[in-house]
């Protein structure tokens, strides 16, 4: 394979600029995470969780959609095996994220990758993918910034605040914050779409996600869309063989001077 994640070749000034853009790109997602972390803390308490249990969910599971689903199922009296099956299904898409991140992070030590895997979320994947593509190599500091600094810490701090004071906080939906997550996912997909193969993969992903979601289950639709979309993209005639080293692109502009 190409040297997707070999030693950095980026000018320090350019690297700082890219990381700054990563942070600014993430600002909307951080606001969204904080809003829904607060709501999760409140939801967990109202579902009968103790503060320790609610906080343990955000630290140990660290997967928002399945946390909300589990809180609802616990409140409804579902048995644990049913919750575990749904959790595995909802979080199956992480397999695709992990596979896509692997070439970029392959030079990291096993110990680091073990921890990196735990903090791999929708947000970490989306932000890191754009950041790595911009640089042309897998910047581990950028990954930690995206996964821990901009996702894990805000989500967990917000959960704690939600557990102890959630009843005083307005519903993020009233403020329109619930649109940030899908808008950010769509915007980051556009940031990654630099050719017709990417556009075809994304369009196929959308079609699969909607069709299978309507016929069966939305979590299954996301996994199938993420797996089948690239196959359709690959079926199109492409440019020269993909070499991650040469695959740098300007990515998303954070609106900052570079």
């Amino acid at each position: 394979m190409g040297a997707a994640s070999d030693e950095p070749r980026t000018d320090p000034v350019e690297l700082r600029s890219a990381r700054r853009q990563l942070v600014v790109n993430a600002s909307g997602l951080v606001a969204s995470d904080i809003g829904f972390g607060l709501v999760f803390g409140l939801t967990a308490r109202s579902s009968g969780f103790s503060p320790i249990e609610a906080i343990a969910f955000s630290v140990i599971v660290f997967a928002g959609a399945s946390q909300f689903a589990a809180a609802g199922m616990i409140a409804a009296g579902f048995a644990w095996p049913a919750i575990l099956v749904l959790t595995a299904l909802v979080n199956a898409r992480h397999l695709l994220y992990s596979a896509a991140m692997a070439p970029w992070l392959r030079t990291q030590t096993l110990r680091k990758r073990i921890v990196m895997a735990h903090v791999l979320t929708d947000e970490a994947f989306a932000l890191s993918s754009v950041h790595f593509r911009r640089l042309g190599w897998g910047d581990p500091v950028g990954y930690w910034i995206a996964a821990v600094g901009l996702t894990f810490i805000p989500w967990n701090l917000a959960t704690i605040v939600g557990v102890f004071g959630g009843q005083f906080i307005p519903d993020p939906r009233v403020l329109g914050l619930d649109v940030i997550f899908p808008a950010a996912m769509a915007g980051l997909a556009v940031g990654l779409a630099s050719g017709r193969r990417e556009v075809a993969a994304a369009a196929t992903g959308v079609a699969c996600a909607v069709a299978i979601g309507l016929l069966w289950n939305s979590a299954v639709g996301i996994v199938v869309g993420g797996a089948v979309g690239p196959l359709v993209g690959l079926a199109l005639p492409g440019g020269p063989a993909y070499d991650p080293v040469d695959a740098t692109d300007p990515g998303l502009d954070a609106g900052l001077p570079s």
Partner: protein, 112 residues
């Protein structure tokens, strides 16, 4: 203070971790052929677009069954964000516009 659900959290993490970790930790991913790397490069736009579509077009059923189709103001907001990102390459600006559209529509009673 109850800690019974901490065990459930651990079990949920145990069923989630393999999907997060196996490709990252598997040594075979060091030597993938170019075609497989190209496939993985396309996973990003495909799965992110799938998530966005699932969130704005579908209303999930609470029991894990099939979702229902939804027509809502989020379509317009996400479309505006996509257009701004495609035009200006500025995600933050796109997100601000999306929030303004949704919050404005709800504040004025145009959307639920």
């Amino acid at each position: 203070m109850s800690t019974n659900l901490v065990a459930l959290a651990v079990l949920m993490a145990l069923v989630t971790y393999p999907s997060r970790a196996i490709p990252l930790l598997a040594p075979g991913f060091d030597r993938l052929p170019p075609r497989a790397l190209e496939y993985l490069r396309l996973v990003g736009p495909a799965v992110l677009a799938s998530i966005a579509a699932s969130q704005i077009f579908l209303v999930p059923a609470t029991n894990g069954a099939a979702s229902t189709f939804s027509i809502n103001v989020e379509w317009l907001a996400v479309a505006a964000c996509v257009l701004i990102v495609a035009w200006r390459r500025n995600l933050l600006l796109g997100l601000i516009m999306a929030v303004i559209i949704v919050a404005g529509a709800r504040a004025t009673g145009l959307a639920a």
